[in-house]
């Protein structure tokens, strides 16, 4: 049984909302399997797969050796032959070990075979800074993946979205990368039961505003929402647009927001150089230039590895104060 099905208020953490989505999808489709390091008997190093092994057994919840490349290759081959694997890569940093099988194989199978084969799988991984995990366990490499044609990239910010997007990801017939910032794992909110599926490629306005649009994904959405509160005090009404998926990208919602507000700030926990903030800023510049009252601004992680020391680590995460400062800059200062 899903871990929180006993609860009546349906107030779930993001981690448990995804777990519930996995339960439901594995229950409804025998072809859905879960593969990864410590996902089985241990229930995941973050307890994110707790209970699945007990319910679905060793045939469908499969612990693996520490062989990210071949495990992912195995998931691709299994998907081509009829399975619908969910594969966990413990840290987003380890995507580097998976890249050949992901980029050269999975992303190209459907195109290269002229539709002869599909790769219906979900690669789930945790990303982001926090917990003082150091330079090799803190990266946010979603920009790399969104750059590759053939991959879908999903980045939920809330528990409810995470459940609905995860279910859509499992049902999608393409390789979908599902990236959660580990700092969002324990965020709680009301989560609908059962058939809650959010189509991939739909952004959502998380807070309506009139003066400036702030675009973000996953944890940065919460940074933007906090900043919007501060800006309200300064009589600036900020709209927060949660992109939810990078690929496909909901260009329509992005453009509609800035057409209304006339100002845009793109916020991200990934690197600024050649990252998603640049892509979205350019999209806005191309499609909504006539509506802009100020240059589109970017705020992203500085181009440095993520250091270990708590004193240093915080410098690599864009925060609400910086968002407020950027917006202030767009107004030429706000007395």
């Amino acid at each position: 049984m899903p871990p929180d099905s006993q609860q009546t208020d349906r107030n779930l953490t993001l981690k448990d909302a995804v777990l519930e989505a996995m339960f439901e999808e594995m229950e409804s489709d025998q072809n859905v399997i879960l593969i990864g390091e410590d996902v089985g008997t241990a229930g995941g190093v973050f307890k994110q797969t707790k209970g699945l092994f007990k319910t679905f057994g060793a045939d469908r919840v499969i612990d693996t050796p520490i062989s990210e490349s071949a495990i992912f290759g195995l998931a691709v081959g299994a998907a081509m032959a009829g399975s619908r694997p969910i594969i966990e890569v413990m840290f987003g940093d380890f995507l580097t070990l998976v890249m050949d099988q992901l980029v050269n194989q999975a992303a190209k199978v459907h195109y290269m075979s002229a539709g002869g084969f599909n790769v219906p799988l979900v690669l789930r991984t945790g990303i982001g800074v926090g917990g003082n995990l150091g330079p090799q366990h803190s990266q946010s490499l979603h920009g790399w993946l969104a750059h590759i044609p053939g991959l879908k990239v999903v980045m939920p910010s809330s528990a409810s979205d995470a459940k609905g997007l995860f279910k859509a990801a499992v049902r999608d017939n393409n390789p979908v990368i599902f990236m959660e910032d580990r700092m969002t794992y324990n965020l709680k909110e009301q989560v609908p039961e059962d058939e809650h599926v959010i189509p991939l490629g739909s952004a959502e306005v998380k807070r309506e505003g009139a003066d400036v649009s702030i675009y973000a994904v996953t944890r940065s959405v919460h940074t933007a929402l906090a900043a919007a509160e501060h800006l309200q005090v300064k009589n600036v009404s900020a709209e927060v647009v949660d992109l939810r998926t990078l690929a496909p990208l909901d260009v329509e919602t992005i453009v509609a927001s800035v057409q209304k507000t006339g100002r845009a700030l793109v916020l991200d926990g990934g690197y600024q150089s050649f990252g998603i903030t640049s892509e979205i800023a350019a999209t806005i510049g191309e499609l909504a230039f006539d509506y802009l009252d100020a240059p589109v601004m970017r705020l992203a992680a500085p181009d440095v590895p993520v250091p270990f020391s708590p004193a240093l680590e915080t410098m690599t995460v864009p925060n609400a104060e910086q968002v407020v400062a950027k917006v202030t800059e767009m107004y030429g200062g706000l007395g």
Binding site: I33, D59, A70, G77, S83, Q101, S113
Partner: protein
């Protein structure tokens, strides 16, 4: 040992070997008329591919590497559609998106041809995994070269296959260049610290055999035994098939080093001439199998030449089909990145 193969099987294997040889010889000529990029030929290794498929059923799955034409033809791929794909035409199996390096034929159970060294081996473990989960006795065969043994993902995939007893037949076609090509500045392939490639899977408790890849009878014996065991659930097997690299595959680009094959050389040594006479005489798997078949009385010279003429005609038609096929509409390049 020949008892293991029925006359029909011998005949089918010989047909496949002839088809592959004539297809590949045609491609060298085709490359003179069309620019279809870098390509790799299966000449000299026909005995392996043509024989392995004899042990497979229609529902088995296969994956291969860029030296793939022989595998696809052996499995029943249509030569005309293959030529069309190699030329990037609309009637190609992949509508021109794959070319020679990525030819795949879903109809005959070929999942993938990887352009990355060892790239398909991880996928093969996955196909074996799905087949095992399905609970039938199907197996997955993956062909790769000796160079793939230098890639980490191959080790990882073999480890998974062994741990989980997956029905994956690893066929390592070792066409490592011998002393001759090294003297001529040819490209070396494998550089492995292990004394023998087949020792590596052994260390992972995978049943492993080394066999002369130019000897149909020997290849069939080890493959049939391995596949039989795998269908009963014995887990993966690894077969290293060793061949002396065909001189035309020694340089970076294929060359017609040994000329168009004269089948009569199998019984008339005076036809074996040129600087590569040793390879033709000693290592050519096609001539070796023809001699074997003539010796057993299963085949006559006339019947062989008649069959060859039929296959040459089939290849001529395949080439014409491919060359007549239209180029795809350029805009179609933008379609089909994602599945519906």
């Amino acid at each position: 040992m020949t008892d293991n193969l029925t006359p029909d099987q011998n005949s089918a294997i010989l047909d496949r070997m002839l088809l592959i040889r004539r297809f590949e010889e045609m491609l060298i000529d085709l490359a003179g008329d069309h620019n279809f990029g870098h390509y790799h030929l299966y000449i000299g290794e026909e005995a392996t591919g043509a024989t392995v498929v004899e042990s497979l059923t229609e529902t088995d799955l296969l994956l291969t590497t860029w030296r793939n034409h022989g595998h696809l033809l052996a499995r029943g791929g249509d030569p005309g559609r293959m030529v069309a794909e190699i030329l990037g035409r609309v009637d190609g199996y992949n509508k021109g998106r794959g070319g020679t390096l990525h030819l795949t034929v879903r109809d005959v159970g070929f999942l993938s041809t990887s352009g990355l060294v060892g790239g398909a081996v991880g996928l093969a473990a996955g196909a074996g995994f799905a087949l095992k989960q399905a609970g039938e006795d199907n197996i997955c065969v993956v062909f790769f070269g000796d160079g793939a043994m230098e890639e980490g993902v191959v080790f990882e995939a073999m480890n998974l296959a062994s741990l989980w007893s997956l029905p994956v037949l690893f066929v390592c076609e070792n066409n490592n260049s011998g002393a001759i090509s090294a003297q001529e500045g040819g490209f070396p392939s494998s550089e492995i610290a292990a004394s023998r490639i087949s020792d590596i899977p052994k260390s992972l408790n995978i049943k492993s055999e080394l066999v002369d890849g130019a000897d149909v009878v020997a290849v069939h014996a080890v493959i049939a035994e391995a596949v039989g065991g795998m269908r009963k659930g014995s887990g993966p097997a690894f077969i290293e098939t060793y061949t002396e690299r065909w001189p035309g595959s020694r340089p970076l680009w294929p060359t017609q080093a040994t000329g168009v094959t004269q089948l009569a050389a199998a019984w008339d040594p005076s036809l074996i001439t040129g600087v590569y006479a040793d390879w033709i005489d000693e290592y050519d798997p096609l001539l070796r199998f023809i001699r074997n078949q003539l010796d057993t009385g299963l085949l006559s010279q006339d019947k062989l030449l008649e069959r060859d003429a039929q296959i040459c005609s089939q290849i001529t038609k395949a080439r014409a089909f491919g060359e007549a096929s239209a180029l795809p509409c350029p805009e179609s390049a933008l379609d089909g990145v994602f599945a519906a």
